[in-house]
Symmetry: none
Subunit: 202 residues, 4 copies
C-alpha cells in the first residue's frame, strides 16, 4: 500500500511545516490558507490529507511528543549516573532552544484549546499519558538512584518525580515570559543541590 504511506508522510510534512505557524500565531489564528501557502499547495488539497482543520492537531500533538522523547534520548543517551541524568533532564528540559520553545508554545496552545473543549476532545488523555510516561521515566531514574544508594530509600520517588516534571513545565512557562533575563541554569542548579543534599543519605 504505497499510496497510504505517501499520504501519511505528507500528513507529517504538512504538520511539520505548520508547527512554526502555530507557535507564531496560535491555532485559532492560523487559517488553512496560511498553512497551504507555507506548504506550497492548494487550499483544497488540505482536505485530502486532513478531515478538518482540527484534524491536523492529532499529527502535531504526536510530533510534539516525538520531538520531546527524541530530545530526551539524545540528551541522556550516554550518561550513566542516574542523578546526573536527572539534573540534565531538569536543566536542559527547562532551557528553551528554538525548536523546544516552539513546541512549548504549541503545547500550551493545545493545552488551552483542549481545556476549552473539555469532554469532547481526545487531546487531554494524550497529554495525560505523555505526562505519565515522562513521570514514569523520572521515577525509574530515582529508583535506580535509590537502589544504587545515592538516594534515601524512604523518599517518595513518585511524588518527587511529579514535582520535578511540574517544575520543568513551570520553568518553561516562565522562561518565555522572563527570557532572556531569566537565569535558568542557576535556578535549576540551586534547586537540584538543595534537593540533593536533602535526599542523600547522611
Amino acid at each position: 500500500m504505497p499510496k497510504v504511506v505517501d499520504k501519511e508522510q505528507k500528513r507529517i510534512d504538512i504538520a511539520r511545516k505548520t508547527m512554526p505557524l502555530l507557535a507564531k500565531y496560535g491555532f485559532e489564528n492560523t487559517p488553512i490558507r496560511r498553512i497551504t501557502a507555507e506548504v506550497g499547495m492548494g487550499k483544497g488539497t488540505f482536505y485530502d490529507y486532513f478531515t478538518s482543520k482540527e484534524d491536523i492537531l492529532n499529527e502535531i500533538v504526536r510530533l510534539v511528543f516525538t520531538d520531546w522523547i527524541e530530545w530526551v534520548i539524545r540528551k541522556m543517551g550516554n550518561i550513566d549516573d542516574p542523578l546526573e541524568k536527572l539534573f540534565i533532564l531538569v536543566r536542559d528540559g527547562s532551557t528553551l532552544d528554538a525548536t523546544f520553545e516552539q513546541n512549548m508554545i504549541i503545547y500550551v496552545d493545545l493545552w488551552r484549546w483542549s481545556v476549552s473543549h473539555k469532554g469532547s476532545n481526545e487531546f487531554i488523555p494524550k497529554f495525560r499519558s505523555y505526562l505519565e510516561n515522562g513521570r514514569n521515566s523520572v521515577i525509574d531514574l530515582i529508583k535506580e538512584a535509590q537502589s544504587k544508594g545515592l538516594v534515601k530509600k524512604e523518599i517518595d520517588a513518585a511524588a518527587i518525580a511529579s514535582a520535578l516534571i511540574a517544575f520543568i513545565d513551570g520553568m518553561c512557562l516562565h522562561s518565555l515570559i522572563l527570557k532572556p533575563e531569566f537565569d535558568v541554569e542557576r535556578v535549576c542548579r540551586s534547586l537540584f543541590e538543595s534537593i540533593l543534599k536533602g535526599i542523600r543519605p547522611t
Copy 2:
C-alpha cells in the same frame, strides 16, 4: 439627567461576569455577543465601557492578580513561621479551588495570547511584574528564615524563590490536566521536605 452609572464599577462587573466565559471558551472563542448576553445587556453597550474587545483583558488581568494577592493574604495572614508560610504558599498555591482554577485557565489563556502578540501588547510586562512581585515575597520569606537560623546562609534565596514559583505554576498546569487523580498535597509535601532537609543547617 440620565441614569448615573459608576463606569469603573460596571467595567469590573462586566469583567467579573466575563471571567467564567473566558475560562470555559477562551478569549478568542468568546464573542462580544456572548459576554453581553451573560451580563444581560445590549451588544453595543459593551463599547460604552471598553474601547475594544481586547480592552476588557486589562480589567480581567487586574482581577486575576487581585484575586491571587487577596488569596495569599487570606491564607498566610495569621501565620508567623516563615517556613510554614512558604509551605502553605506552595501547597495551597498549587491546589485549585473553583475560582482559582478558573483564574488559572484565564491566566494560561492570556499567557498564550500574549506570547503570540509579543511586541505589540501590554500584558507580558504585567505578567512579568506579577511574577516579580510574587518572587520578591518568596525571597523575603526565605531571607527571614535565614536570619532566624532556619535556613542555611549560603542558600541562594533568589534562585530558590524562582524555583518555587515555577513549581507552583507547573503544579497548577498539571492539576488541570490530571485532576482529580493528582495528589497535590503529597507532591508538595514530599518536595518541601526534601528541600527542607537540604537547606536546613546541619
Copy 3:
C-alpha cells in the same frame, strides 16, 4: 415667544459649529456624537433641536446660501461698473478662501447626498432656486452692461449668465483638486478678456 427664538438661535449655533466637521469628514461620517462634543452638549440634546440627523442639513443649506449671498454683497457693494462687478464675481467666486472652501465642500457633499435621495428630499429645489437667483443677478448685470452700451445687444444674456455660473462652480471644483498650483486669477482673467474681446483674429 422668547423660547422659540432661543431654539432657532441654538439650531443655528449648532449648525454653524457642525459645518467644519461636515467639510472635514462629510455628513455620513460625522456622527451625532462628534457634533455634540464639538458644541459641548449632551448627545440626547441634539434631538431637542433637530428631529433627526438629517434635519440639521436644512439649517446648514440655509447657512451655506446665506454666507454666499453675504459674500457677494460684500465683494460687489461699492463697485459701479457692471462688467467689473462681473469680473470680480467670476474671479473671487472662483477663489477659495477658508470659509468659502469649507462651504464649497459642504455644497458638494449635500449635492451628492441629494442626488442619491432624488425624489424624496427637499434640497434639490433649494439648490435650483439658489442657482436661479445667482443666475438672475448675473443676467441683470449683463443687461445693465448692455443698456450702458458695454456689451452687444444681441448677446444672449441668460445663456452667458448660465455659462459664467457654471464656470465658477467648475473652477471651485478644480481648485480643490489642483490647488495650490492652480492659477485661478490667470484663468479667470484670460477667459474674461477672451469673452470681452473675442479670440478670433480681427
Copy 4:
C-alpha cells in the same frame, strides 16, 4: 483543477455592475451585500477580487476615465477643424447621456470622498492627472488653431484650456441639478460664440 477565472476581467465585470449602484446610492451607502447581490455572487467572493471595499474604487475610477476618453475619441474622431473639435468637446462634454450622467455622479461622489480622505488616498492624484490630460488635449487644439491662424497668437492657450475644462465640469454639475429644463446646447453655443467673437461692441 478548479474553474479557471480571468481575475482581472471579473474585477472589471464586478466594477461595471457596481457603477449604477454607486451612482444611485453613493459609495458610502452601497454595502458589499448590495454589490454582490447585484452581481449575483456570495458576499465573501467579493474579497477574492478586491482587497477591501475601497479597492473597487481603483477599478471604477479607471473605468470612469476610460469611458470618458473613449467617448471623446468617438465624438471627435472624424472632425478636422480644431475649433469645431473644441466646440463639440464643450457641447457634448456638457451634455449628459445616461452613461455619462452616471459616471458624472460617480465622479463627484469620489471627488467628495477623496477630498475628505486627503493625505491618505490615491485618487486625488488620479483626478489631477486626468484633468491634466484633458487640459493638455485642449491646449493642443487651441495651439493648432493658432498655428492655422484661426485664433490670435497672443491668446493664453493654457489658461483658456483650463477655463473650458472647468466650464464643462460646471455645466455637468448644473445639468444634474437643473435638468431637463437646462438648455445646455444654447449655453454652450452662446459662450463659444462669445469667446470667438467677443461680447464687446465693435
